[in-house]
């Protein structure tokens, strides 16, 4: 990982590690009122931030701003220590290639096979075919879809498409993962499969991530479970423990109204947070 400027390290905490992502007073607006208003937070190494909030409050916009797909009107966004807020599109591609992103509906390229979708970045980098096949098989095995290697996205179910999208995001061992409502519109069983994969990724590769969701059940499952490598399954943490590296953010009307862990979330006196949890 590259060295980051001191400005991104939290100076108040001695020996603090640099944040992978840091938002400082970010404002994003399109035509009309701002979608994000003065949002500030950070994501540390190995940290998973779950971004909660009802539909239409700017969760996806925030996620897209994280890797420069959307430019903020004001404020700074540091990605791997570099301020991307005013960076040119051409300079952003190299930084984006170090992140993995899972889109709401998967956003698979429908004219390409699963193999070519998962290997998209590797093909652009002209990695030899044998190596591509091996790495695609490995990524598909991680998401349990080895048999879809030569299929096209059109013949996959919604859940399978999300899992292929996760494989595509993971294939280049990204330094940051961004999940945009990965369980949105899926049935409970498939949702659990996807969350299990995300927990497996979190505990196995320990990649920092931001996960956008409006499903509290998914968020609580993530924080109360861990991946058991021996059983190759997600199991509850013992004695009501919670994952210390998985914390919450909550957006409402473009403002970040909560930033903390599960206990703080449950004990929050903010009327909107209470209403959302209920």
């Amino acid at each position: 990982m590259s060295e980051w400027p001191a400005s991104v390290v939290d100076s108040a905490v001695p020996g603090a590690t640099p944040a992978v992502v840091q938002f400082r007073d970010v404002v994003v607006s399109f035509e009309g009122p701002p979608v994000l208003r003065g949002v500030s937070f950070s994501v540390g190494p190995r940290e998973t931030r779950i971004l909660l909030g009802p539909a239409g409050v700017g969760k996806s916009v925030l996620l897209k701003a994280t890797n420069g797909l959307i430019c903020p009107e004001a404020g700074s966004i540091f990605l791997f220590g570099e301020d991307i807020a005013r960076m040119k599109e051409g300079s952003l591609f190299a930084l984006r290639a170090r992140t993995g992103m899972v889109f709401q509906e998967g956003a698979l390229f429908d004219s390409l096979s699963v193999r070519d979708n998962v290997a998209y970045q590797l093909i652009q980098e002209r990695v030899p075919d044998d190596e591509i096949d091996h790495r695609v098989q490995e990524a598909l095995k991680f998401v349990g879809l080895e048999h879809t290697f030569s299929l096209f996205p059109g013949s996959l179910s919604g859940g399978m498409r999300r899992r292929v999208a996760i494989a595509r995001a993971l294939i280049r061992n990204p330094e940051l993962l961004l999940y945009d409502s990965p369980t949105g519109g899926l049935d409970p069983v498939t949702s659990t499969t996807i969350i299990e994969l995300i927990v497996k990724q979190r505990d196995f590769y320990k990649t920092p991530s931001i996960l956008v969701t409006h499903r509290l059940q998914d968020a609580f499952t993530m924080v109360t479970h861990r991946y058991d490598a021996e059983k190759d399954a997600m199991v509850p943490l013992p004695g009501g423990e919670t994952d210390a590296n998985t914390t919450f953010l909550m957006l409402n009307e473009g403002k970040l109204i909560f930033d903390g862990n599960i206990d703080q979330l449950v004990d929050s006196q903010d009327p909107f947070v209470k209403e959302f949890l209920e």
Binding site: K64, N67, F103, Q121
Partner: protein
């Protein structure tokens, strides 16, 4: 109220033109820096060039035939049916070959570019491409512009050839004139400025078709309805700009060569 409407429409038009120029400039400049996606250029050349060949051959042939039918009737009044070949060849090479091919390719390819890229935009595939560290303009737009410019050039030559053949078929089989006379008249009176005019136009038309098609595709908003809107706008504007630029090129060429 009316002034506000005019003001906002004018501003939107200026912004659109500005966006289009910046978009086109970026797409063209991508040819001079790495990576250049040669494989995509070949695939697009096949789709645009080989895919449009049939309609261009038929359109060219029938247009040449129509020209021969119409001109023979008029020329007969002056006892000049012998110059039918000259009339058909001049019309096809200087004007109709390029414009008709442009319009045909625009209907087929500007629409497909706008709808294909538009669908990719609304299903977040373009964002996914950007998130994967690939420049969608470099990967999707530049190859289409390159392919359209080069293929329209060759398609126009095919169209010109087929048009002259169509004219010959009508002249020989319907008007019962001499085929050798038709071809010698078609060939003898052609000069360099005529050929130049006919071959400069497709380069410009090809650029307009692909850049307008991709531009409207890439700025699609509003789901599947938006894709339909983009497709219509792409075909309409590409066709209008082909005819408008044809007028400009003709004025410039005629003033330069006095022919």
């Amino acid at each position: 109220m009316a002034f506000e409407k005019i003001d906002s429409t004018a501003k939107e038009l200026v912004y659109t033109v500005q966006d289009y120029f910046l978009f086109s400039l970026r797409a063209v400049l991508n040819l001079f820096s790495r990576p250049v996606y040669w494989a995509d250029m070949i695939i697009q050349s096949d789709i645009i060039g080989v895919g449009s060949a049939t309609i261009v051959i038929f359109a060219g042939f029938f247009t040449g035939g129509v020209l021969a039918v119409q001109s023979a009737a008029t020329l007969a009044a002056f006892g000049a049916t012998a110059v039918t070949g000259r009339f058909v060849a001049m019309s096809m090479i200087r004007e109709l070959g390029a414009v008709l091919t442009g319009i045909m390719v625009s209907g087929r390819n500007a629409s497909s570019m706008a709808s294909e890229l538009g669908s990719m935009v609304v299903t977040e595939q373009i964002d996914a491409m950007r998130a994967l560290g690939v420049d969608p303009i470099r990967k999707l737009v530049t190859p289409r512009i390159f392919a359209c410019v080069t293929m329209l050039f060759f398609l126009t030559i095919v169209s010109d050839f087929c048009g002259i053949l169509g004219g010959a078929a009508v002249t020989v089989f319907m008007n019962h004139q001499n085929g050798t006379q038709y071809f010698s008249m078609a060939y003898e009176f052609l000069q360099f400025p005529d050929i130049l005019q006919g071959l400069v136009k497709p380069l410009l038309f090809g650029f307009l078709i692909a850049s307008i098609g991709c531009f409207y595709g890439m700025r699609t908003t509003g789901g599947t309805q938006g894709v339909g809107r983009s497709t219509i706008q792409a075909v309409v504007w590409a066709s209008v700009m082909i005819i408008f630029s044809d007028l400009l090129v003709s004025i410039v060429m005629v003033s330069i060569f006095s022919r």
